[in-house]
Amino acid sequence: MIAQLVLNGFVTGLLLALPALALTLTFGILKFPNFAIGAMLTFGAYAAWVANSLLGMPLAVAAVASAVVMALVAMLCDVLVYSRLRDRGSITLLVSSLGISLVLENICRFAFGNATRNFAFEVARPIRWHGLRINQEQLITAIVVIACVILIQLLLHASPLGRAMRAVADNPALAAVRGVERQTIARITWCIAGSLTALSGVLAGLDRAVDPLLGWNYQIPIFAAAILGGLGSPTGAIVGAIVIGLAEELSSLVLPTNYRQIVSFAVILLLLLVRNRGLFGGKAVRK
């Protein structure tokens, strides 16, 4: 029973890892928490659903298509909105991301209504392994997320682009002196964040169903994961996501499942009181 919860929690955590990573990457470069992360996840899930159910692509192809679409949408948001507000402080960016969140979510609602949609995907029987029940979706989630995480870590630590991204995150002025342009790096970061979020949207839609509030249900846990890891730290976001996933699943031993989001909120409050840098955060966030 507990082993099953731990397994489920681990997979839930992996699901949170991609958007938490996306959140932390954009925070690192642009210094504001993107409140549209949930809506981006929803939008990505709908994009994949259109490709999969309406256009008849296999789900894997649809997921890639949705990642490309979401990368473009995220970049478009940057070109049209975020880049124009960049110098006006993090709160202005924050509020503008609230606006973008409303637009993205309601484009989905306007086009497809409030009904829940499912991907055209054969549900296979769960695998039994040492008394544990492992769903096919859980397996897919684990493989996709771990692959993405490895790719992102390689990108950040073993490529010139990753070095440039880390340089801008650390000190944009100094990076600019060395010829790394913040604008370009910001656009690329949005593309990466967009595709990561879209993929997590597909996985979330596979786990539950696609509806306009899909991403909203993950919003608080995503923030909890990123804060727990220390906003701005990619490794932290992944570890934070897994801790939150485990905390949420294991809380069902003592709390009704409806209260899962409250667990994330409690983690946020506790962290702000005890260690506001998160687990991997470098600088204290206190002013």
């Binding site: 409140f35 507000l85 609230l98 973008i100 209504g113 919003q219």
Partner: protein, 306 residues
Amino acid sequence: MIAYLTTLIVLVAVSALVGLALNVQWGVAGLVNFGVVGFVALGAYTTALLAPPLGWFPAMIAAAALCAMISTVLAFLSIRLEENYLAIVTIGFGEVVRILLLNESWLTGGAVGIADIPRPFVNLVPPRQYDLMLAAFALVLVAIVFVLLETLVRSPFGRALRAVRDDATVAAALGKPVLLLRVKAFATGGAVMGTAGALHAFYLTYIDPSQFTSIITAYAFMAVIAGGRGSNFGLLFGAGTIMVLLEATRFLKDAFAVIDGTQLAALRLGLIGLGIVLLLILRPQGLLPEPQRKANDFFPDHEGTS
């Protein structure tokens, strides 16, 4: 027509109260609150639960007091931190309220909600004219809150708040108690949001969780941005304009038969989102911005020394 007009007045009044509250917190004091809807819901539920035993007025005061108290706690928790964290904590608070309202049915009636909420001054007028009475009550409430907040903003306290908003470090260096000022501003806003919730409950006489959606938060931000951050006059203008525009979208349904209820709701929310973004980019100071005061306004005897 009269019935529709009174409805519109009450709706604008509720929205104006919510907007005025956010204007104190975010506009004047610079503290983002993404959990506006949570405070409004809490105010409405407190009123609904306490009005039957205590009467409408004590219930409304209790709603304001409870919201002020919770605002104080949240402010103490997170205001010492970077402003981004307050936003995250308040959005989490809003979600927690929603989850509690849905699941603690022994208290809140769950998804069914609470009905038969007592209204103010019911016996004063015949039932047929009650709507007019409530509209008048709503207007008086907005007027009182407006005068109180405007006095606050013009007082030394309000000046200190704006100083903290514009540069907390300088304000602290001048000996202003930054944390205390912020907590007070946040609590004041919370109290007004609780009052807005009470008015909402009086107007509908029944409440359920589905009435308290993110549109309330989005609307409040739109009203503050449109009116001009920090300007109470601007806020009333912004709140009124947006509400009338939003109400007008109802008629889109009649004009275009293809749009159904869900699409209409989506269209309105999407337009608010678009409005927020466009205003931030094109007219960040709002339509009726806060007056920029110069040192000379405060020291008329020392002209030219600013």
